[in-house]
Symmetry: C2
Subunit: 220 residues, 2 copies
DNA sequence: CCTCTTCTGTTGCAAATGCAACCTTTTTTC
DNA sequence: GAAAAAAGGTTGCATTTGCAACAGAAGAGG
């Protein structure tokens, strides 16, 4: 596999942080990395099939969706550049993944297999990789806690303020651009697109925020 | 530490499944296990402090709560007998845990430290334990996905049917008892206690379910 | 057995919001 | 650059549901 620029782009990722370029290459080999480009709207994975590897987004944005029995789609995760998805399903080798995964933009994805992480080995490097992977999962559960906190709020206004506060904390700025369009954001918040538009309008009229497209500025 | 009965009670847990009693004892030593009893309503952990170990509930039920900035408590997890909590916070050694943990009944908890899981070692047994622990985390993220699905539903009726369907799947029966009282259940579903009571009544009147206390029977 | 506490259910009301219908703006495609 | 498609906004209306207040039932402790 060509590794052009991969080291530069991924050396900050928590899975590879602090590795030398040699170790990084070694990690990619161990994880049987392969790289693939996808068009906008293309499926990376279909529900009901096993996920043989987890993905790391090199370019673009992918979304993890779960279909309700009644067909209403539900976004489980929105993964931007540098993010990853499917770690748990791949690690556990779940035979029928309960989600489908698709792109919202043109994308490039690095697929990584977890098989070598589960094979006993006394190699300290394997140990390191496994430790990093476990830490990734632990971090993921903390992130999901954040989402659960938002979804647990009873009013849309509360959801939005929690969401904004989180992004302020995450970006360290009161102005930020989120990787969601309105429909995706309403999914993420567990609400309705038009209700979301309405509430954003209200908040702008009340002087709490300003926004243009997906860029928001907190005025509070 | 006394291990009376622990092997019998925990040998089915995914962390220890399939281990001989000797290996089990060895695991407890490696994880620096210690056992402690708590009274109903007692705090196992207070928000803002580091969690030096994760817990496994031997007896009773504990709840993980997160306080809103505005003080409204929010239940993040309800952990019944055989369940565990705090794995991510302990593994990552988060300096100030964002939750508090308390009992809802008299409880007995087995505390387990993750330090040995992070220390490089070529011991195959360490490898096994780490693998189990990682699988625990992966399973946890899948469970949280289920909760997120429930919380993402727009109506209380939808939340309840999803919740019931999940318990039907989990227990394999259309009659089951959940470890939540009404207040806890309303927290879990992200709604209001009285609204929950109302909707349960409605569903019973419509002949969809029957219930007595925390036991539910699906009639659909 | 009695008291006190906790849990659960009911109801009226006001506020929130899902939904449908429709329009405007932006983006994509050819 | 025109046409088509996608995204975003607005509004009215009906439904949902959060909230408060209260009452009955069950449980705990003496």
């Amino acid at each position: 596999m060509k590794q052009d620029g991969l080291f530069v782009r991924l050396s900050a990722h928590r899975l590879f942080a602090g590795m030398s370029e040699e170790d990084f290459s070694r990690a990619l080999i161990m994880l049987d990395a392969h790289r693939r480009a996808y068009a906008r709207g293309e499926y990376l994975h279909r529900m009901g099939e096993p996920l043989s590897a987890f993905g790391m987004v090199l370019l673009g944005t992918v979304q993890v969706y779960s279909d309700d029995p009644d067909g209403r789609g539900m976004m489980m995760a929105n993964v931007a550049e540098g993010g990853s998805f499917g770690e748990s399903l791949a690690f556990l080798a779940v035979p029928r993944a309960p989600v489908h995964i698709l792109t919202t933009t043109g994308c490039e994805v690095l697929w990584l297999r977890t098989a070598s992480l589960r094979t006993p080995s006394s190699d300290p490097f394997v140990f390191l990789l496994r430790d990093r992977f476990t830490a990734m999962l632990a971090t993921r559960t903390l992130e999901m806690n954040d989402r659960i906190q938002i979804l647990s709020k009873l009013t849309l206004r509360d959801k939005l303020t929690t969401f904004f506060t989180e992004w302020e904390r995450r970006t360290g700025s009161r102005t930020f651009t989120v990787p969601f369009d309105r429909a995706a954001l309403s999914d993420y918040l567990g609400t309705n697109r038009t209700a979301l538009s309405r509430e954003l309008s209200n908040m702008q009229n009340e002087g709490l925020i300003e926004y243009y497209k997906n860029s928001f500025k907190l005025l509070c």
